[in-house]
Symmetry: C2
Subunit: 237 residues, 2 copies
Protein backbone atom coordinates (compact mmCIF):
# COMPACT_ATOMS: atom_id res chain seq x y z
CA UNK A 1 0.00 0.00 0.00
CA UNK A 2 1.18 3.51 -0.88
CA UNK A 3 0.85 6.15 1.87
CA UNK A 4 -2.33 8.17 1.32
CA UNK A 5 -0.39 11.44 1.24
CA UNK A 6 1.79 10.27 -1.65
CA UNK A 7 0.34 11.57 -4.91
CA UNK A 8 -0.01 8.89 -7.58
CA UNK A 9 0.47 9.58 -11.27
CA UNK A 10 -1.54 7.06 -13.23
CA UNK A 11 -1.32 6.82 -17.00
CA UNK A 12 -2.76 4.76 -19.85
CA UNK A 13 -1.36 4.12 -23.27
CA UNK A 14 -3.96 4.98 -25.92
CA UNK A 15 -3.65 3.81 -29.52
CA UNK A 16 -5.71 3.46 -32.70
CA UNK A 17 -7.69 0.25 -32.72
CA UNK A 18 -7.53 -0.46 -29.00
CA UNK A 19 -10.57 -2.10 -27.42
CA UNK A 20 -11.92 0.96 -25.65
CA UNK A 21 -13.21 -0.75 -22.53
CA UNK A 22 -9.71 -2.10 -21.88
CA UNK A 23 -8.98 1.55 -21.13
CA UNK A 24 -12.30 2.95 -19.96
CA UNK A 25 -13.00 0.13 -17.48
CA UNK A 26 -9.75 0.66 -15.56
CA UNK A 27 -10.10 4.45 -15.96
CA UNK A 28 -13.46 4.34 -14.20
CA UNK A 29 -11.86 2.64 -11.20
CA UNK A 30 -8.40 4.17 -11.00
CA UNK A 31 -9.46 7.76 -11.73
CA UNK A 32 -11.36 7.65 -8.43
CA UNK A 33 -8.30 6.84 -6.32
CA UNK A 34 -7.82 9.68 -3.83
CA UNK A 35 -4.79 11.92 -4.28
CA UNK A 36 -4.03 10.79 -7.80
CA UNK A 37 -3.89 12.16 -11.33
CA UNK A 38 -4.95 10.00 -14.26
CA UNK A 39 -3.81 11.00 -17.73
CA UNK A 40 -4.02 9.28 -21.09
CA UNK A 41 -1.02 9.25 -23.46
CA UNK A 42 -0.80 8.54 -27.17
CA UNK A 43 1.34 9.40 -30.18
CA UNK A 44 -1.09 12.20 -30.97
CA UNK A 45 -3.52 14.43 -29.13
CA UNK A 46 -5.99 14.15 -32.01
CA UNK A 47 -8.92 11.81 -31.31
CA UNK A 48 -8.15 8.18 -32.14
CA UNK A 49 -10.77 5.51 -32.81
CA UNK A 50 -11.14 2.31 -30.92
CA UNK A 51 -11.76 -0.91 -32.81
CA UNK A 52 -15.52 -0.31 -32.85
CA UNK A 53 -15.23 3.39 -33.69
CA UNK A 54 -15.38 5.27 -30.38
CA UNK A 55 -13.22 8.41 -30.38
CA UNK A 56 -10.91 8.89 -27.41
CA UNK A 57 -8.41 11.69 -27.01
CA UNK A 58 -5.09 11.65 -25.15
CA UNK A 59 -4.16 14.33 -22.65
CA UNK A 60 -0.60 14.46 -23.98
CA UNK A 61 1.78 12.73 -26.35
CA UNK A 62 4.00 9.92 -25.10
CA UNK A 63 7.13 12.06 -24.95
CA UNK A 64 5.39 14.53 -22.62
CA UNK A 65 4.38 11.95 -20.03
CA UNK A 66 6.01 12.36 -16.64
CA UNK A 67 7.42 9.31 -14.86
CA UNK A 68 4.28 7.36 -14.00
CA UNK A 69 3.64 5.56 -10.73
CA UNK A 70 1.04 3.32 -12.35
CA UNK A 71 1.38 2.34 -16.01
CA UNK A 72 -1.69 0.86 -17.68
CA UNK A 73 -1.42 -0.93 -21.04
CA UNK A 74 -4.71 -1.85 -22.73
CA UNK A 75 -5.13 -4.21 -25.69
CA UNK A 76 -7.39 -4.76 -28.66
CA UNK A 77 -6.74 -5.76 -32.28
CA UNK A 78 -4.81 -2.50 -32.83
CA UNK A 79 -2.09 -3.79 -30.54
CA UNK A 80 -0.79 -5.84 -33.45
CA UNK A 81 0.32 -2.73 -35.37
CA UNK A 82 2.55 -1.68 -32.46
CA UNK A 83 4.44 -4.92 -31.87
CA UNK A 84 7.54 -3.64 -33.68
CA UNK A 85 7.00 0.04 -32.98
CA UNK A 86 10.15 1.00 -31.11
CA UNK A 87 8.81 4.39 -29.97
CA UNK A 88 5.88 2.76 -28.21
CA UNK A 89 7.85 -0.25 -26.92
CA UNK A 90 10.60 2.03 -25.58
CA UNK A 91 7.98 4.12 -23.82
CA UNK A 92 6.41 1.05 -22.22
CA UNK A 93 9.86 -0.22 -21.15
CA UNK A 94 10.93 3.11 -19.69
CA UNK A 95 7.65 3.73 -17.86
CA UNK A 96 7.41 0.16 -16.58
CA UNK A 97 10.98 0.49 -15.28
CA UNK A 98 10.10 3.51 -13.15
CA UNK A 99 6.58 2.54 -12.09
CA UNK A 100 5.39 1.19 -8.77
CA UNK A 101 2.76 -0.87 -10.57
CA UNK A 102 2.25 -2.03 -14.12
CA UNK A 103 -1.27 -3.02 -15.15
CA UNK A 104 -1.76 -5.01 -18.33
CA UNK A 105 -5.28 -5.57 -19.64
CA UNK A 106 -6.31 -8.04 -22.34
CA UNK A 107 -3.84 -8.19 -25.24
CA UNK A 108 -1.93 -5.28 -23.73
CA UNK A 109 0.06 -8.24 -22.40
CA UNK A 110 1.34 -8.89 -25.94
CA UNK A 111 2.66 -5.33 -26.12
CA UNK A 112 4.39 -5.73 -22.78
CA UNK A 113 5.71 -9.05 -24.09
CA UNK A 114 7.07 -7.41 -27.24
CA UNK A 115 8.81 -4.91 -24.97
CA UNK A 116 10.56 -7.90 -23.39
CA UNK A 117 8.93 -7.39 -20.01
CA UNK A 118 7.16 -10.73 -19.56
CA UNK A 119 10.12 -13.11 -19.39
CA UNK A 120 9.63 -15.35 -16.34
CA UNK A 121 6.48 -13.49 -15.34
CA UNK A 122 3.14 -15.11 -14.42
CA UNK A 123 0.61 -13.51 -16.74
CA UNK A 124 -2.78 -13.68 -18.39
CA UNK A 125 -4.49 -12.12 -21.43
CA UNK A 126 -7.62 -12.46 -23.59
CA UNK A 127 -8.67 -16.09 -24.04
CA UNK A 128 -8.01 -15.91 -27.79
CA UNK A 129 -4.34 -14.98 -27.22
CA UNK A 130 -3.68 -16.98 -24.06
CA UNK A 131 -1.70 -19.67 -25.92
CA UNK A 132 0.73 -17.00 -27.16
CA UNK A 133 2.04 -15.99 -23.74
CA UNK A 134 4.90 -18.54 -23.75
CA UNK A 135 6.34 -16.92 -26.90
CA UNK A 136 7.12 -13.91 -24.73
CA UNK A 137 8.71 -16.06 -22.02
CA UNK A 138 5.69 -15.64 -19.75
CA UNK A 139 4.15 -18.31 -17.54
CA UNK A 140 0.45 -18.45 -18.54
CA UNK A 141 -1.94 -18.48 -15.57
CA UNK A 142 -5.55 -19.14 -16.52
CA UNK A 143 -7.15 -16.77 -14.03
CA UNK A 144 -9.15 -13.62 -14.59
CA UNK A 145 -6.68 -11.49 -12.65
CA UNK A 146 -3.05 -12.44 -12.00
CA UNK A 147 -0.83 -10.51 -9.60
CA UNK A 148 2.92 -11.05 -10.04
CA UNK A 149 4.92 -8.79 -7.76
CA UNK A 150 4.34 -5.22 -8.89
CA UNK A 151 2.47 -6.39 -12.00
CA UNK A 152 -1.25 -6.93 -12.33
CA UNK A 153 -2.60 -8.76 -15.39
CA UNK A 154 -6.26 -8.80 -16.30
CA UNK A 155 -7.66 -11.26 -18.85
CA UNK A 156 -9.87 -10.17 -21.71
CA UNK A 157 -11.54 -6.79 -22.00
CA UNK A 158 -13.95 -6.47 -19.04
CA UNK A 159 -11.50 -8.28 -16.74
CA UNK A 160 -9.82 -4.87 -16.57
CA UNK A 161 -12.53 -3.71 -14.17
CA UNK A 162 -11.85 -6.57 -11.76
CA UNK A 163 -8.10 -6.10 -12.13
CA UNK A 164 -8.35 -2.36 -11.50
CA UNK A 165 -10.28 -2.94 -8.28
CA UNK A 166 -7.56 -5.37 -7.14
CA UNK A 167 -4.94 -2.78 -8.04
CA UNK A 168 -6.83 0.01 -6.25
CA UNK A 169 -6.82 -2.14 -3.12
CA UNK A 170 -3.08 -2.81 -3.47
CA UNK A 171 -2.41 0.91 -3.87
CA UNK A 172 -4.75 2.46 -1.29
CA UNK A 173 -6.28 -0.36 0.73
CA UNK A 174 -9.46 -2.40 0.55
CA UNK A 175 -11.82 0.30 1.89
CA UNK A 176 -10.88 2.70 -0.90
CA UNK A 177 -11.49 0.00 -3.50
CA UNK A 178 -14.81 -0.89 -1.89
CA UNK A 179 -15.88 2.76 -2.00
CA UNK A 180 -15.10 2.94 -5.71
CA UNK A 181 -16.99 -0.30 -6.31
CA UNK A 182 -20.05 1.16 -4.57
CA UNK A 183 -19.86 4.44 -6.49
CA UNK A 184 -19.85 2.52 -9.76
CA UNK A 185 -22.51 0.11 -8.48
CA UNK A 186 -20.41 -2.84 -9.55
CA UNK A 187 -22.54 -5.80 -8.55
CA UNK A 188 -22.64 -7.45 -11.95
CA UNK A 189 -25.52 -9.64 -13.10
CA UNK A 190 -24.58 -10.95 -16.54
CA UNK A 191 -27.83 -12.11 -18.14
CA UNK A 192 -26.07 -15.12 -19.73
CA UNK A 193 -23.21 -17.41 -18.74
CA UNK A 194 -21.23 -16.99 -21.91
CA UNK A 195 -18.21 -14.96 -20.79
CA UNK A 196 -15.51 -17.62 -21.18
CA UNK A 197 -14.70 -20.42 -23.66
CA UNK A 198 -15.55 -22.89 -20.89
CA UNK A 199 -19.08 -21.61 -20.34
CA UNK A 200 -20.14 -20.31 -23.77
CA UNK A 201 -22.44 -22.55 -25.85
CA UNK A 202 -20.42 -24.54 -28.43
CA UNK A 203 -21.97 -22.75 -31.43
CA UNK A 204 -21.23 -19.34 -29.89
CA UNK A 205 -17.62 -20.32 -29.18
CA UNK A 206 -17.14 -21.69 -32.70
CA UNK A 207 -18.37 -18.45 -34.22
CA UNK A 208 -16.21 -16.34 -31.89
CA UNK A 209 -13.14 -18.42 -32.76
CA UNK A 210 -13.78 -17.95 -36.49
CA UNK A 211 -14.15 -14.20 -35.96
CA UNK A 212 -10.66 -13.93 -34.44
CA UNK A 213 -9.01 -16.55 -36.68
CA UNK A 214 -7.18 -14.02 -38.88
CA UNK A 215 -5.99 -11.72 -36.12
CA UNK A 216 -4.90 -14.73 -34.05
CA UNK A 217 -2.84 -16.08 -36.97
CA UNK A 218 -1.21 -12.67 -37.39
CA UNK A 219 -0.54 -12.41 -33.68
CA UNK A 220 1.06 -15.85 -33.65
CA UNK A 221 3.36 -14.95 -36.52
CA UNK A 222 4.42 -11.79 -34.71
CA UNK A 223 4.84 -13.63 -31.43
CA UNK A 224 7.25 -16.07 -33.12
CA UNK A 225 9.36 -13.15 -34.29
CA UNK A 226 9.38 -11.67 -30.80
CA UNK A 227 10.38 -15.05 -29.35
CA UNK A 228 13.32 -15.19 -31.74
CA UNK A 229 14.39 -11.65 -30.88
CA UNK A 230 14.16 -12.35 -27.14
CA UNK A 231 15.88 -15.74 -27.43
CA UNK A 232 12.82 -17.50 -26.03
CA UNK A 233 12.54 -21.12 -27.08
CA UNK A 234 9.48 -21.30 -29.33
CA UNK A 235 6.93 -23.68 -27.80
CA UNK A 236 5.89 -26.72 -29.82
CA UNK A 237 2.38 -26.12 -31.20
CA UNK B 1 -36.39 -9.24 -32.06
CA UNK B 2 -35.51 -7.13 -35.11
CA UNK B 3 -34.91 -9.06 -38.36
CA UNK B 4 -31.17 -9.54 -38.90
CA UNK B 5 -31.30 -7.86 -42.29
CA UNK B 6 -32.75 -4.64 -40.84
CA UNK B 7 -29.95 -2.18 -40.25
CA UNK B 8 -30.01 -0.64 -36.77
CA UNK B 9 -28.95 2.92 -36.07
CA UNK B 10 -27.79 3.12 -32.47
CA UNK B 11 -26.86 6.42 -30.85
CA UNK B 12 -25.70 7.76 -27.50
CA UNK B 13 -26.08 11.20 -26.04
CA UNK B 14 -22.68 12.51 -24.92
CA UNK B 15 -22.35 15.50 -22.58
CA UNK B 16 -19.79 17.24 -20.38
CA UNK B 17 -19.55 15.61 -16.97
CA UNK B 18 -21.20 12.32 -17.87
CA UNK B 19 -19.87 9.21 -16.13
CA UNK B 20 -17.93 7.80 -19.06
CA UNK B 21 -18.58 4.12 -18.41
CA UNK B 22 -22.33 4.82 -18.58
CA UNK B 23 -21.55 5.34 -22.27
CA UNK B 24 -18.50 3.16 -22.89
CA UNK B 25 -19.96 0.06 -21.21
CA UNK B 26 -23.05 -0.01 -23.44
CA UNK B 27 -20.94 1.04 -26.45
CA UNK B 28 -18.73 -2.01 -25.99
CA UNK B 29 -21.77 -4.26 -26.21
CA UNK B 30 -24.04 -2.55 -28.71
CA UNK B 31 -21.32 -1.56 -31.19
CA UNK B 32 -20.81 -5.29 -31.78
CA UNK B 33 -24.39 -5.92 -32.88
CA UNK B 34 -24.31 -7.20 -36.47
CA UNK B 35 -25.71 -4.94 -39.19
CA UNK B 36 -25.73 -1.81 -37.04
CA UNK B 37 -24.11 1.60 -36.88
CA UNK B 38 -23.27 3.16 -33.53
CA UNK B 39 -22.69 6.91 -33.38
CA UNK B 40 -22.24 9.32 -30.50
CA UNK B 41 -24.02 12.70 -30.49
CA UNK B 42 -23.34 15.84 -28.49
CA UNK B 43 -23.80 19.59 -28.71
CA UNK B 44 -20.27 19.84 -30.05
CA UNK B 45 -17.82 17.67 -31.93
CA UNK B 46 -14.98 18.98 -29.79
CA UNK B 47 -13.79 16.51 -27.12
CA UNK B 48 -15.80 16.76 -23.90
CA UNK B 49 -14.59 15.54 -20.51
CA UNK B 50 -16.31 12.99 -18.37
CA UNK B 51 -16.64 13.59 -14.66
CA UNK B 52 -13.22 12.09 -13.98
CA UNK B 53 -11.54 13.79 -16.92
CA UNK B 54 -11.62 11.32 -19.80
CA UNK B 55 -12.01 13.02 -23.20
CA UNK B 56 -14.66 11.59 -25.51
CA UNK B 57 -15.63 13.01 -28.87
CA UNK B 58 -18.99 12.88 -30.61
CA UNK B 59 -19.36 11.76 -34.21
CA UNK B 60 -21.86 14.53 -34.92
CA UNK B 61 -23.88 17.25 -33.24
CA UNK B 62 -27.40 16.53 -32.00
CA UNK B 63 -29.09 18.28 -34.90
CA UNK B 64 -27.25 16.07 -37.39
CA UNK B 65 -28.39 12.78 -35.87
CA UNK B 66 -30.64 10.67 -38.07
CA UNK B 67 -33.74 9.07 -36.58
CA UNK B 68 -32.27 6.47 -34.26
CA UNK B 69 -33.57 2.94 -33.80
CA UNK B 70 -31.89 2.67 -30.41
CA UNK B 71 -31.46 5.75 -28.23
CA UNK B 72 -29.03 5.48 -25.32
CA UNK B 73 -29.01 8.08 -22.56
CA UNK B 74 -26.14 7.87 -20.04
CA UNK B 75 -25.91 9.67 -16.70
CA UNK B 76 -23.32 11.11 -14.36
CA UNK B 77 -23.18 14.28 -12.26
CA UNK B 78 -23.14 16.38 -15.46
CA UNK B 79 -26.75 15.33 -16.11
CA UNK B 80 -27.82 17.95 -13.60
CA UNK B 81 -26.75 20.82 -15.88
CA UNK B 82 -29.07 19.55 -18.64
CA UNK B 83 -32.27 19.14 -16.66
CA UNK B 84 -33.69 22.40 -18.03
CA UNK B 85 -31.84 22.39 -21.32
CA UNK B 86 -34.63 22.42 -23.86
CA UNK B 87 -32.36 21.62 -26.82
CA UNK B 88 -31.19 18.40 -25.19
CA UNK B 89 -34.59 17.48 -23.72
CA UNK B 90 -36.29 18.08 -27.09
CA UNK B 91 -33.71 15.87 -28.75
CA UNK B 92 -34.30 13.08 -26.24
CA UNK B 93 -38.07 13.40 -26.65
CA UNK B 94 -37.95 13.41 -30.45
CA UNK B 95 -35.49 10.48 -30.67
CA UNK B 96 -37.31 8.45 -28.02
CA UNK B 97 -40.53 9.00 -29.92
CA UNK B 98 -39.12 7.47 -33.09
CA UNK B 99 -36.95 4.75 -31.58
CA UNK B 100 -37.61 1.04 -31.35
CA UNK B 101 -35.77 0.94 -28.03
CA UNK B 102 -34.73 3.50 -25.47
CA UNK B 103 -31.92 2.59 -23.10
CA UNK B 104 -31.41 4.65 -19.96
CA UNK B 105 -28.30 4.07 -17.87
CA UNK B 106 -27.69 5.37 -14.35
CA UNK B 107 -28.92 8.96 -13.86
CA UNK B 108 -29.67 9.15 -17.56
CA UNK B 109 -33.09 8.24 -16.17
CA UNK B 110 -33.33 11.71 -14.61
CA UNK B 111 -32.78 13.29 -18.02
CA UNK B 112 -35.47 11.09 -19.53
CA UNK B 113 -37.63 12.05 -16.58
CA UNK B 114 -37.04 15.75 -17.17
CA UNK B 115 -38.09 15.14 -20.77
CA UNK B 116 -41.39 13.88 -19.37
CA UNK B 117 -40.88 10.35 -20.62
CA UNK B 118 -41.04 8.41 -17.36
CA UNK B 119 -44.63 9.04 -16.31
CA UNK B 120 -46.16 5.67 -15.41
CA UNK B 121 -43.03 3.81 -16.42
CA UNK B 122 -41.26 1.13 -14.33
CA UNK B 123 -37.69 2.39 -14.01
CA UNK B 124 -34.42 2.24 -12.13
CA UNK B 125 -31.34 4.46 -11.76
CA UNK B 126 -28.18 4.84 -9.63
CA UNK B 127 -28.80 3.92 -5.99
CA UNK B 128 -28.09 7.50 -4.86
CA UNK B 129 -30.91 8.87 -7.05
CA UNK B 130 -33.36 5.98 -6.77
CA UNK B 131 -35.65 7.85 -4.36
CA UNK B 132 -36.08 10.62 -6.92
CA UNK B 133 -37.81 8.49 -9.56
CA UNK B 134 -41.35 9.21 -8.25
CA UNK B 135 -40.81 12.94 -8.87
CA UNK B 136 -40.80 12.10 -12.57
CA UNK B 137 -43.93 10.00 -12.27
CA UNK B 138 -41.94 6.78 -12.58
CA UNK B 139 -42.55 3.56 -10.66
CA UNK B 140 -39.19 2.73 -9.00
CA UNK B 141 -38.17 -0.91 -9.37
CA UNK B 142 -35.15 -1.87 -7.29
CA UNK B 143 -33.52 -4.18 -9.82
CA UNK B 144 -30.25 -3.88 -11.71
CA UNK B 145 -31.99 -3.96 -15.07
CA UNK B 146 -35.65 -3.11 -15.65
CA UNK B 147 -37.39 -3.74 -18.95
CA UNK B 148 -40.62 -1.80 -19.50
CA UNK B 149 -42.02 -2.34 -22.97
CA UNK B 150 -39.57 -0.80 -25.42
CA UNK B 151 -37.56 0.78 -22.61
CA UNK B 152 -34.56 -0.74 -20.83
CA UNK B 153 -33.31 0.88 -17.64
CA UNK B 154 -29.98 0.01 -16.08
CA UNK B 155 -29.12 1.00 -12.53
CA UNK B 156 -25.86 2.73 -11.61
CA UNK B 157 -22.88 3.01 -13.91
CA UNK B 158 -21.65 -0.55 -14.60
CA UNK B 159 -25.23 -1.85 -14.71
CA UNK B 160 -25.15 -0.45 -18.24
CA UNK B 161 -23.13 -3.48 -19.34
CA UNK B 162 -25.74 -5.91 -18.05
CA UNK B 163 -28.56 -3.80 -19.49
CA UNK B 164 -26.86 -3.59 -22.87
CA UNK B 165 -26.51 -7.37 -23.04
CA UNK B 166 -30.22 -7.70 -22.27
CA UNK B 167 -30.99 -5.15 -24.96
CA UNK B 168 -28.71 -6.89 -27.48
CA UNK B 169 -30.67 -10.08 -26.86
CA UNK B 170 -33.97 -8.26 -27.32
CA UNK B 171 -32.74 -6.75 -30.58
CA UNK B 172 -30.92 -9.67 -32.20
CA UNK B 173 -31.53 -12.74 -30.07
CA UNK B 174 -29.74 -14.50 -27.25
CA UNK B 175 -26.98 -16.10 -29.36
CA UNK B 176 -25.81 -12.72 -30.62
CA UNK B 177 -25.69 -11.37 -27.08
CA UNK B 178 -23.81 -14.45 -25.90
CA UNK B 179 -21.25 -13.99 -28.67
CA UNK B 180 -20.66 -10.40 -27.62
CA UNK B 181 -20.35 -11.47 -23.98
CA UNK B 182 -17.69 -14.01 -24.97
CA UNK B 183 -15.76 -11.51 -27.11
CA UNK B 184 -15.60 -9.12 -24.17
CA UNK B 185 -14.86 -11.98 -21.76
CA UNK B 186 -17.60 -10.79 -19.44
CA UNK B 187 -17.47 -13.31 -16.61
CA UNK B 188 -17.04 -10.80 -13.80
CA UNK B 189 -15.27 -11.59 -10.56
CA UNK B 190 -15.54 -8.50 -8.37
CA UNK B 191 -12.84 -8.84 -5.70
CA UNK B 192 -15.17 -7.39 -3.04
CA UNK B 193 -18.90 -7.48 -2.35
CA UNK B 194 -19.38 -3.75 -2.09
CA UNK B 195 -21.33 -2.89 -5.22
CA UNK B 196 -24.67 -1.97 -3.63
CA UNK B 197 -25.81 -0.11 -0.50
CA UNK B 198 -27.09 -3.47 0.83
CA UNK B 199 -23.73 -5.21 0.60
CA UNK B 200 -21.18 -2.43 1.17
CA UNK B 201 -19.62 -2.17 4.64
CA UNK B 202 -21.36 0.50 6.75
CA UNK B 203 -18.34 2.81 6.87
CA UNK B 204 -17.92 2.60 3.10
CA UNK B 205 -21.60 3.37 2.52
CA UNK B 206 -21.50 6.31 4.94
CA UNK B 207 -18.55 7.82 3.13
CA UNK B 208 -20.15 7.26 -0.30
CA UNK B 209 -23.37 8.92 0.88
CA UNK B 210 -21.44 11.94 2.15
CA UNK B 211 -19.62 12.20 -1.19
CA UNK B 212 -22.89 12.50 -3.11
CA UNK B 213 -24.74 14.59 -0.50
CA UNK B 214 -24.44 17.88 -2.40
CA UNK B 215 -25.28 16.56 -5.84
CA UNK B 216 -28.19 14.57 -4.39
CA UNK B 217 -29.61 17.69 -2.74
CA UNK B 218 -29.29 19.59 -6.02
CA UNK B 219 -30.91 16.74 -7.90
CA UNK B 220 -33.80 16.65 -5.46
CA UNK B 221 -34.40 20.35 -5.84
CA UNK B 222 -34.45 20.01 -9.61
CA UNK B 223 -36.67 16.94 -9.45
CA UNK B 224 -39.24 18.92 -7.44
CA UNK B 225 -39.31 21.56 -10.16
CA UNK B 226 -39.78 18.90 -12.81
CA UNK B 227 -42.59 17.32 -10.79
CA UNK B 228 -44.35 20.65 -10.64
CA UNK B 229 -43.90 21.21 -14.37
CA UNK B 230 -45.20 17.73 -15.17
CA UNK B 231 -48.07 17.98 -12.67
CA UNK B 232 -46.76 14.97 -10.75
CA UNK B 233 -47.84 14.92 -7.13
CA UNK B 234 -44.63 15.44 -5.13
CA UNK B 235 -44.06 12.44 -2.88
CA UNK B 236 -43.90 13.01 0.87
CA UNK B 237 -40.26 12.72 1.97
Amino acid sequence: MIPHDTHLRIGSLLFEGLDQIDLTGPFEVLSQIPNSTYQVYARTTEPVRDIHGLRLTADAVLADAPRLDVLHVPGGFGQEALMEDEEVLDWIRAQAGGATSVFSVCTGALLCGAAGLLVGRRATTHWSAFHLLPYFGAIPVDERVVVDGSWVFAGGVTAGIDGALRLAAELRGVEVAQGIQLAMQYAPEPPFDSGTPRTAPAAVLDRARRTVEDITARREKTARKVAERLGVEVPVA
